[in-house]
Symmetry: C2
Subunit: 340 residues, 2 copies
């Protein structure tokens, strides 16, 4: 390393009340650390910004490990190049992914990084469709929602990194009908024209319940929830007997300052005997090999499409990219390129 | 049959808005019918009144078969004596249970009645702890809530026919701790002193969330919901990672005229990854033999206690008994004796 190289990291400066702002983050220059025995130094190229990070910024007791005020935004997906190695299995030039969050350089134990094959797929795919977001979609659909061929599937946030994979996987695995909701006309067109959804609607065009009823006249069997709130209420309204709801995210509620009282129709759970299950990808790592074996070929031959919204301009753009993500500015996975 | 015998039945006169009243029912004298080939005539002795019947009185689309206005309150559990048989397997004097509802006499196909053994248990037990209510508790605890030994279990409506069996079964099957809520000091004492609950509280004494936190300092793994509303919110607050909620009833909401907005903390489903599942006993009939084999001996030797609140005075008392049930006047199963 050049002695003059500096590392930079983004820290949580304060916990947000409602929507986060740039003031909740601080950008701090630090020294580039040196790896110890069995460790590597990774120079990060691409950082991931994800909706779940909003949850970690709060210190609600229910979240196991909130981000700490004054500390780096850890954990978060990142892609980088090994620049110094004191571990046998890795050498300089290797591309790796890891979870060490929003910083330019990371020192990590070798078992905390995953070496990727840039020939098998573009490196950024390992942060999205072949990474945690893809696994979230796969595990949520198959395990949490117990999807089976013939099901009609509704997914909210369908143009997002997780939702777009959920819908396509459901189609590829024999769904009867796949319906998505998104927040702009362009996203709705993308779902139907590019990703093969059978129907899609813009939730800003009218009541979600009415739009879903129209899109799913025979009801839905599976709802993959990225949004919560009005969408969840609509899904309960349309769900068929013994339906299943996987709750992956409730982005509509992350920035609420008061508890949100929806869904008002939850008591239908008895008559319809549906199952609702919360999910976090960390419970499903046992599926990783199966997921990769099934999904990597689908990505490679273009049957499963994915989108990225890549923000250029260095690590200092990361907080704004995250705020834009929460406001829905992305199509597909939101990434920040911080170095080549 | 004596030619002068008259049958009487209770019909749904109108659908209630909010709490039902006696005006929602009509009491109608009819002729005693004659059984056809393969049928029996049953003279009913005891009728069951149950919380789910309130749901059937509404015509919400979600309920498969609401009671019809102008028709008898069908279905509902009943116990009676065969007085005329044109079926091979049954003869006059046999005691049977069936689902033909609120009437003094029922003509039924032989396969719609279940002959009971009055030596194995008191006949009314077949309408409660050994009948649908017992099976509801058994299936809801074991299948819907996936109970396992070592779980801490919370049950609401714990002094009721279903709840009292849930709590006792959980203890008998190795629960770490069983907590119940009920609506009077006498019921709370009954749970702890007679039924072996580890803790119980009167939900009218203060916020359910606070009382549950105090009763379950290490959280709960299973919540068996008979009540909904504030109780469900409290259970979500106290539920542990990967907990399970079986929603059997939401009696607090059955008479609400506006949608009830609780639980406000549902978004915790993601961080805690709990599962919530609606249940109706009709989905679990495959468990009947296993249930009876396990529970009948527990009832016979007194390890599993059950209570009945038996209203005397004939079929005309049935609507009032039902209203009293909804108001919580019962301990254990609420029954109406209409004949000896």
């Amino acid at each position: 390393m050049n002695a003059s190289t500096q590392a930079t990291e983004i820290r949580l400066a304060s916990r947000p009340h409602g929507w986060p702002t740039l003031d909740n983050f601080s950008i701090v220059d630090t020294d580039v650390p040196s790896p110890g025995a069995g460790q590597v130094l990774v120079r990060n190229q691409v950082l991931s910004v994800d909706p779940y990070m909003r949850g970690r910024m709060s210190d609600a007791k229910s979240y196991a490990a909130p981000y700490e005020v004054g500390k780096v935004m850890y954990d978060g997906g990142a892609l980088g190049e090994v620049v110094e190695s004191r571990a046998d299995a890795l050498e300089p030039g290797d591309l790796v992914t890891h979870r060490a969050g929003w910083r330019t350089h990371s020192v990590l134990d070798a078992d905390k990084v995953v070496k990727i094959d840039p020939e098998a797929a573009p490196p950024t795919a390992y942060l999205s469709v072949l990474g945690m977001t893809g696994l979230t979609a796969y595990a949520g659909l198959l395990e949490s929602a117990e999807f089976k061929p013939g099901d009609t599937v509704f997914v909210s946030g369908a143009a997002g990194a997780v939702g777009s994979v959920v819908g396509q996987l459901a189609k590829l695995r024999g769904a009867k009908r796949v319906i998505g909701s998104a927040g702009s006309p362009a996203k709705v067109r993308h779902l139907v024209d590019d990703l093969g959804f059978d129907a899609a609607f813009n939730y800003q065009d009218g009541p979600v319940t009415e739009q879903l009823r129209a899109a799913a006249p025979d009801g839905i069997d599976v709802y993959f929830d990225n949004v919560g709130g009005e969408h969840l209420e609509a899904a309960i309204d349309s769900i068929n007997l013994h339906g299943r709801i996987a709750v992956c995210g409730m982005i509509s509620q992350y920035n609420a300052t008061e508890p949100t009282p929806a869904p008002r129709n939850l008591s239908q759970i008895i008559a319809k005997r549906f199952t609702m299950r919360g999910m976090l990808v960390t419970d499903h790592f046992h599926l990783r090999d199966r997921f990769f074996a099934e999904v990597a070929p689908l990505v490679a031959d273009g049957r499963l499409k994915y989108s990225e919204t890549v923000v250029e301009g260095g690590i200092r753009k990361t907080p704004q990219a995250f705020l834009d993500l929460l406001a829905g500015a992305n199509t597909g996975k939101m990434l920040v390129r911080i170095a080549d």
